[in-house]
Subunit: 259 residues, 4 copies
């Protein structure tokens, strides 16, 4: 399958994984391994930077890029501080920006997010902003230096699927410089496949895997669905029709004396 | 993954494939191989029973069960005649019943289909009726001896997806003796995955694969999506929520002096 | 607005009303009056035929046609008996056939319903069969003498809307001899309007009105929505577009020196 | 019905009408009259301010508030200039802000729109910003002084309905200080009713009325649908159920010897 390019990195997997809500670190590790994911996100707050004991970072497979996120930030300034702290602590230069001041729907703040994107991109970060789907806001984030844009399908953790399809599809059709990564709300592998069939560059999944009764198997299911959706997108679809179109000849068989 | 049981046969693949509309026999053969499918359907009319030359049957992989269908039948009597002819011609004892008298939407006739099912099941056929989704009609077909029931997602060849979800889901929830196989209308791997996540036993796909620009790759995509959907169904889903549910701790990070 | 014709009767209102679940008879009466409905359905069982005291029939406005239904019948024979009893008891010759043997989804049995339709139509009843949406079954009911066919939008009392739209639309497009009346599942005025915009002849609503906090006002809302949907259908819609189409001239205003 | 309050004005109608695409001025006038609308929008550019001849403004009924819009503006500065010109020309102090730089989907620019809103609200305008649905952006517009916010249902002129329902519903639930007016994309009366049932304060419709085969009758249909939706919202809905709920007693009727 074709590679995904983010910030100059070429990735052979289009499923990004979040690390919240798993039953334990071991299951999280195994689920990530099974998913084949190469980019793993975690709130910086959850990283115990100074710990000498068991550390959640030890449960992120070595082949993965670590993508700390700024969860907890309520404005651009706070997001910038968290990003800098992450880099200073050895977490690398990838950063997922989350700026959220609404605690009920956890909706991102596109305006503050764009500001943080601009500052951090200039400082050399590979910036992936989580956003409310909006073509004009996404264009601003790309101009500000975002390496990808991450519109929500539905609010975080709701498992409601891609209910913003109308707006996300326009973003996919109009923004060609960076990948569109559908983040938040994807609750089923079919929905991940749907995002890929729409032309998304990747999807980020957390709750749907972590809260399944079998996170490891669910991780594999998502991994396959993402590949299936990407392959289908590349293979191109036949037209959708209003009336039926017979797969086989319809009538006259018996008339013609075949039997 | 768990096996699919149809008429006493245990199958390790839940994607059934139709044979219409492929660019040529060779591509059809390769697509079937790539899909891993074990059950292949074709209108009996298309089988040249007496041919000594190139025969489409030669392009069905040896490991597959051949499922002739009664396409062209307009009532039970015609369907029964086609089924008997198929068996007499060496096509085995599996039969997919299609009784269609409407040429615009190609909608099945549940009443005639039930009659044909009853006659053929008594004659020892493994009968798979194509039907309009309807719990009571499906129950009658099961009583009549159907080995599976095959409700349509949307009209044949339309690629419109599972638009009858409300009725198909009820069939899945209420009929436990035989598998529910979603047949017709599935246009994308995400839709095949969705059917499996709903609890369908299998899906049958033809037009979406055959009319893709790359049928072989599309066959592989469908195969993966079906597996992903089944695995997800077995792994069980977390709840769908109305409000957001944070994957990571939301607030207070910077307040607490972490930086 | 144009009239609705059922069994030779010309009606100036396209909203049929059911009588279950109202807080009391008085509110039911007022809701029916407010709705302007001309056809009111009730399970015959609820009619106390011999009562000399307060009788629910007294709460059906005089200008309405009474449409007893065969709720409680589990097969054609029982439905026929109830219909005959209704007529013998002075309830007139309209009958809504409900044959239901499933107590979880209350789904109709198209096969038994068709049988009952045929018997009762021959006996001079004006027969309105409640059915699972299915073009071929509907055609059989029309041939059997149905004065209208009544496909479900979703199961009775669920307020889930027209989830069988794919199948109901085909029935509307293909059956021109009798009206299609969407019955069951309609939970909101917008859904009643949608049915009418699709070309349905009428809708039947019960639960959504009766269980509202204000059944009388809700009845009026449904009445207006049904009229709005019918008027819109008659006025014809402009095309649905994929790309935007400006209502007003888009650019260049300020360039041209207007200010 | 309850009144709609915008910028201190109390309105007895919740349907706003646009003036583009009508066959001629006379039909537009009659459609507006039939709709009962009290707020009519038009691109300022279409207003011939100095004309002594037939003027489109003469075809806006006298009882209506004129709401000029800034169509053609590509940034806040241009929108502000158009608004000031409108007021200086005697068009009053209501202004609908449209800032659009994308010519394919005509999507609004929330950032520039917020800037224009702030400037114009301070100058005493009653500002109604057209926007991409986004809770945080809407909150900013309200803080900036917007008298209402107008999220799109789908792109202008597409008649695709409320495809942004997930985001618009959140705005309705969370913003209580000003009305949410669904603007753009509403193609059918059922969709207008749906917006009102969701709790929208009003809807703005143009293309769906103007491009109907009978704009005057379609205007009446929309007017009724908006009222129906608002009345239903005020009457409150019964619950949506997964399983059926009988309107009438289900079984046992014939068993009990009633006949």
């Amino acid at each position: 399958m074709d590679k995904l390019n983010i910030g100059g990195h070429s990735l052979d997997n289009r499923l990004l994984i979040g690390t919240g809500k798993y039953p334990n670190h071991r299951i999280m590790y195994d689920a990530i391994q099974k998913s084949g994911s190469k980019v793993i996100t975690m709130a910086l707050r959850r990283v115990d930077i100074n710990s000498k004991e068991e550390n959640i970072l030890d449960f992120i497979p070595k082949q993965c890029i670590f993508l700390p996120n700024t969860s907890g930030a309520r404005n651009a300034e706070e997001a910038v501080r968290i990003a800098r702290l992450a880099r200073a602590s050895g977490c690398g230069n990838w950063i997922k920006i989350e700026v959220i001041s609404d605690s009920k729907y956890l909706l991102p703040d596109n305006y503050e997010t764009t500001k943080a994107t601009e500052i951090l991109a200039k400082e050399g970060f590979i910036v992936l902003p989580y956003m409310s789907p909006d073509l004009m806001a996404a264009k601003r984030m790309v101009e500000a230096g975002a390496a990808a844009v991450m519109p929500l399908g539905s609010p975080i953790g709701t498992n409601r699927g891609i209910r913003t399809k109308e707006l996300v599809q326009i973003m996919i059709d109009e923004i060609k410089d960076v990948p569109i990564i559908v983040d938040a709300g994807i609750g089923k592998p079919s929905e991940a496949a749907e995002a890929m069939e729409m032309g998304a560059g990747a999807v980020l999944v957390n709750t749907a895997i972590a809260t399944s009764s079998d996170p490891i198997q669910m991780a594999e299911a998502f991994s396959m669905a993402v590949k299936a959706g990407r392959m289908a997108y590349l293979s191109k679809f036949g037209p959708e029709r209003h009336f039926a179109s017979a797969s086989s000849p319809l009538t006259g068989f018996l008339n013609e004396g075949a039997c």
